[in-house]
Symmetry: C3
Subunit: 356 residues, 3 copies
């Protein structure tokens, strides 16, 4: 259960630079209200208990909306709310997923998907732009390339007389909490429960992949999870994550040999090479093909092992794998929409109205 | 009535290249379900019987939505559905027409109108992109420049465990079935019934105009229709259409002299020069002005003759003609919205719920 | 109360050039119907009586929509209407404000925010483009860079058999009536009534600022308003406005010294330098800093004085001022949404259904 925001937090919050560099755990109360998330900014806000509750809501949402009457009921829950999708960075998947999550709940939506239409051209500060958006809507879902920008927007909002909740749809290189949410939801559905005791293999460009980093953080919530990191030596998981895992006594192994861990995996999380972050063409120098999941691997992995991928993919998973029932990546996308709908319903406090 | 999809069809469907090059008539069952269109891809799917049914639905939709209670009823019919407009090619008219058709029926909409915001920039295949879209919505309306791409998307969808219907909003140079649908609907409304026995004159760049080609195909459905093709010799109707007409014993004449056929026409279908398809400036070498409809022609044509144009126009019809009651082109646009709404309601099987 | 459109007006309206150059007051009946605004094009349409009515509606809208039941009631009022936002010029604020005003009333919306997706690329005239849009919707909200274009669109529409109302969201350099509407609404709310007898100070680039010009026009509606224009000598208010004020016996003063008028002001209307209208870098030659509102000024101005700004701002108001209760500019934005919702409800004749 998120802690209440206290007077002290609010005063600590008065200086942005101080606030920004503080430990994330110390900031969390600032972004919660009435025992619920108010802003969703960090994977660290997603506790075991909250995740369980959100997954239950997501499951119920899917079940209820199967029938027209249920879908109409759900789309009346937030029919009095207006949301804004402010996506400065291109993103099809996350954008559509949030947009349709809003549609499911009846939230009316405005979109800014491009800065060229924005007043930024007239010299407005990004802070003023966000405040302007908040004048018209009840919720802002934001994707922004600048690290910390989404957090700053939420911090600013919370210090005004008329704040609106902000959901982080991807901010800078680090935080993309709803991706972690949907990845965990996919594990949860695949395992028919929480991932305690499971072996999870993450494969590919672990150094620069935001999703595998966030997902690793979330493992703190569970017991006896065993991680294996499979990557070319150039793209190994960064030391900060390994330290985090050590600190929380989460066992992990590192290897360049995919086949060595395939057999025991309960879930395999594939990722593409993040060459948009190249500084000097380093991706081209690496043979990435040992980090592909091929049709022939289907015979090797467990019957119950699930294959995940945040998508888009390039060649990391052969299209022939798509028809295997263990291929979860398309369902993973769809899970994202439902998990995000659950999150929005939670923020507005209507999640408990969604009943089977 | 569309045929049921059979096991055999599904197996024939297993190889895309084989499927794609098969006769269209043999493919139709693959895109139908429960006696209804599932995907709308080809003008060839629009049988006389289906057209009649769709036009009746469209007429009823317009009547019912005149009053607020009726409009609210209709916009509740598909309030539990989410649609996606995926328009890779620019298109104002078709886009707005479909979007507002969705609004009429209560379908909630997502838009992709530009590939630059899409994951295609991250190296995703178009097939994966479409599958991603289908994760979030219940219907995809698609316009794409690549010939066969929309069909392939529908074919792929139908082979997954969670297909969604696909409507072709214009694919490549050839197929634009809902344009043919709205053109025929306009004839139907103008003639107060089906166009049996009517003389229809098509004028302009017939060689490269997609609309006149599709409309010619649809004439197969009717009796004793008489076609006249009026064009400069450089832009005559292509032989494949003439062969088709011969095969189905549909009489036609060809001429360069517009005035020679104006007098007997029951409908005149004007088109602009398609110079975006020029290879070496061939449009500039042609005097297109004999293929303009001028104010003075209003005195020549029948009192009941209707003037159509798929729009946008340039100079093919003088603006002074707009106020004549026989000028149908603005109503033709509006007919498109209603006919498309009828089509969507048909695909989701709610058309019969729309009653006067 | 707007006058009825008469037969004569309609015939006067037959020649656009004649119509366009006529006195605005003589045109007003052409854009009204059944005692209400039909098109909203000019600040001159906003009479004292109409403004009062719109402000009352806006106040009631805000109150009623505080509760879910009220919000749902209001969003049912125009649920049978479809609107189009046709914004050829970039505009975040006005766009979002109108879009969310539509959402509040349940109007379903289509957007064109960029001419590159439009048929204009295929050689269509702007008049045909607008007529096309009108085929699909019941209302067009339009922003266009060409002076007079929005008016011409409304004029054209009114001469067809199926007109739709047009709201001017900013046309050319001159007319932006809903900005004047929201500015006046902000004064009205700040003064708890009409601005009779108040001293209003307008500051900055008055020469090229559209908002201060429109607001000055509206002052004609009120008694004993006193205006002060504060600007660098290069950007003084234009003679046409000063003549207008003289003609209507509205007292004003002009000064370059902001501090000389600050103390008595009941409202201070700040504006940014309009350097996008520079012809030869004239903005850079001016020291604009004497026309900034600074934190220290808060001690000088009246306790009841309100600070306004149409936004976006650059440096004209120090961010430290934002937390002062007299800073009205964020509320001014929000007022815009409500005032526009009131206007739309008035045009469709449902404003009187909105009751406390």
């Amino acid at each position: 259960m998120p802690m209440e925001r206290t007077k002290e937090m609010t005063s600590v919050g008065a200086d942005w630079d101080k606030f920004y560099t503080a430990e994330i755990s110390s900031k969390l109360p600032f972004f919660s209200r009435e025992g619920r998330l108010y802003d969703c900014l960090f994977a660290q806000q997603l506790t075991r208990e909250l995740l369980k509750q959100l997954f239950k809501t997501a499951d119920t949402l899917r079940a209820v909306t199967q029938k027209k009457a249920g879908a109409d009921f759900v789309s009346g829950l937030l029919s009095h709310k207006r949301g804004m999708l402010y996506f400065v960075q291109p993103s099809t998947r996350t954008f559509l997923s949030f947009l349709n999550a809003c549609h499911i709940l009846g939230v009316k939506t405005s979109e800014i998907r491009d800065t060229s239409t924005s007043s930024e051209v007239k010299g407005e500060t990004p802070e003023d732009t966000v405040r302007t958006f908040s004048s018209y809507v009840d919720l802002i879902i934001m994707r922004h390339p600048a690290p910390g920008f989404v957090e700053k927007a939420a911090w600013l909002m919370n210090r005004t007389g008329r704040p609106v909740p902000i959901i982080n749809g991807g901010s800078g290189k680090d935080q993309h909490p709803t991706q972690a949410l949907l990845d965990m939801y996919t594990l949860y559905r695949s395992f028919n429960g929480e991932p305690d005791g499971k072996k999870i293999v993450m494969v590919g460009d672990l150094k620069r992949g935001r999703t595998v980093r966030s997902l690793s953080y979330l493992m703190k919530n569970y017991k006896n999870v065993n991680l294996a990191f499979v990557s070319p030596k150039e793209f190994k998981m960064e030391p900060d994550i390994l330290e985090f895992l050590n600190k929380h006594s989460i066992p992990y192994t590192e290897t360049e040999d995919f086949s060595s861990v395939m057999r025991e995996a309960d879930a395999i999380y594939m990722t593409r090479i993040q060459d948009e972050h190249d500084k000097a063409g380093e991706s081209k120098k690496v043979d990435y093909s040992p980090y592909y999941f091929k049709k022939e691997h289907l015979k090797i992995i467990k019957k119950s092992c699930v294959i995940m991928h945040p998508l888009p993919r390039r060649h990391e998973i052969e299209p022939e794998v798509d028809t295997d029932p263990r291929a979860m990546y398309w369902r993973q996308e769809r899970n994202g929409m439902w998990a995000r709908a659950a999150l929005i319903s939670h923020i507005f406090g209507v999640d408990l109205k969604i009943k089977p």
